[in-house]
Symmetry: C2
Subunit: 298 residues, 2 copies
């Protein structure tokens, strides 16, 4: 299988590692607008060769797009214009409505499978690539009825090879849920980093930062190149999630300020329930086919 | 050295492990108001024997208090009332003003060394104890001029044995900095857990939660028994930190809502600076004696 990866950063690079190791890819072609990243990716051995965008998308089985969401919107239609009829195009982006909308009426829309693998780190570039980054995580496939069945099957197979579970949602549902579970935590971390830096000396932060602070603020290290366009494309839902978050913070703050001890206690105990949710304590939340059918739109 | 540990949870239990392993403690006595925790600690071998509070604080070299801050305030004076002249009492609590104030005029105030090791996890109880939890982290010693020099030296030696660096601050400085670097991240995580639970189905959260969400919300698993009294004792500074945080979140939200793209970009780039701070990129922030003298009040 010949696979072309456009964008050799954390996501594209990690995919390359696992697709090669699993032998799903027999030939890996890399495309990157940064000459430095392209050179690094070739040197590390992530891909077999580097091509221009025009040449890289010719005569290939799968094209994976793993670039910032504003860059993707700018080239997706152009990629679909030039591919063979059998080529499957899969993207990896965190937002989906603006992207699917941009090719809604494209003649090759069926070749495109919009995907969002829920995995990453706060680091970027080819040297940040990690083996096994996707294993055990979930990929959201969006508006799957708009993809051709052969292309959908190809994408499903690829994500299964990576060891991922698959959820099916509309682009709108994915953008809403992702606003709360992924984009909001990033915004919360950016604001926390700025709040603490505004009040405490650099040295004090460096000295006192323990595992707890590091964990909560970790996502604030994430690059603006990737995250600014995500916030822009998912503006309305991220604003909604920030409004909900600020309301809950204000409630916590007011309970503390007004010495409403019982209510503050209840807020903490309610928040503690996230442990059971994340650890899948309730047997109903064990992954199984029935649940996916029930929950999602497939 | 005979050491009595009051409170055999995550902190007390982890201390017991390292103090025994380093041979700093030759005899470890445990005190815990929970019979279940006392039994577990004895069974795991964290301590050599369990005693009542009254008997445990008699004829011992060091008493370590590692219990919730409200419980500590309730028994600290009573412990100082009954100890030998040579016994050193060290606490581990996250707040310091209310606690030091409660024994300000005690005849044995010099035996007490108020300490705050900046380390922990979101888990609690003796079974959560971890070897090496404190290694490479920092302990804040507060109002050190109020402790007798022999007791201060004993505490410094113990923390050095644990592999910790030491910072010196007033109780007020520690409560302010800790509000921003530790208590605020906990409040932020509690509110994030509540915000997301209010808008998204449990199953969606379980399925979509990636490393980023898990990291940002991790502290929301922390127990109310420990954290509610910390918020109460440090009410004013935690409210201040929440006000600063909400202001920064609102600014982020407004920039996004009003499409102020340049300003939003600047906010993200400014937040990114936390990476350099936490990784100690600036050579001025390498730990050395000069800096500690300059920064802190010793």
């Amino acid at each position: 299988m010949r696979i072309t990866i456009i964008g050799l950063g954390l996501i594209g690079g990690s995919l390359a590692m696992d697709l090669r190791k699993s032998k799903f890819a027999t030939e890996l072609i890399g495309v990157d607008s940064s000459e430095k990243h392209a050179d690094q990716a070739l040197k590390i051995g992530l891909v077999d060769r580097i091509e221009s965008l025009e040449k890289g998308v010719e005569n290939t089985d799968i094209i994976i797009i793993a670039i910032p969401v504003d860059k993707e919107v700018a080239i997706l239609a152009q990629i679909l214009d030039t591919i063979n009829n059998n080529t499957t195009v899969i993207d990896m982006s965190s937002t989906k409505r603006v992207i699917t909308e941009s090719v809604r009426n494209h003649l090759k829309r069926k070749n495109f499978v919009p995907a969002h693998p829920m995995s990453g780190t706060e680091n970027s570039g080819p040297t940040a690539a990690l083996e096994g980054l996707f294993k055990g995580k979930i990929t959201i496939l969006c508006d799957h009825e708009d993809s051709g069945s052969q292309h959908l099957a190809m994408a499903e197979k690829m994500f299964q090879v990576l060891g991922m579970d698959i959820a099916y949602m509309t682009a709108d549902e994915q953008d809403h849920s992702t606003a709360f579970v992924s984009h909001l935590p990033h915004a919360a971390a950016y604001a926390l980093a700025n709040a603490v830096q505004s009040k405490e000396d650099r040295s004090i932060i460096f000295d006192l930062a323990s595992g707890g602070f590091n964990s909560t603020v970790r996502l604030a290290k994430s690059s603006s190149t990737m995250w600014h366009p995500i916030f822009q494309q998912n503006r309305n839902y991220v604003v909604e999630s920030l409004d909900v978050y600020i309301k809950h913070l204000q409630e916590f703050r007011d309970c503390l300020y007004n010495e409403q001890d019982d209510k503050l206690h209840d807020l903490i105990v309610s928040a503690n329930k996230i442990r059971g949710i994340l650890e899948g304590e309730n047997p109903h939340f064990v992954k199984n086919e029935e649940k996916i059918v029930k929950l999602y739109t497939k």
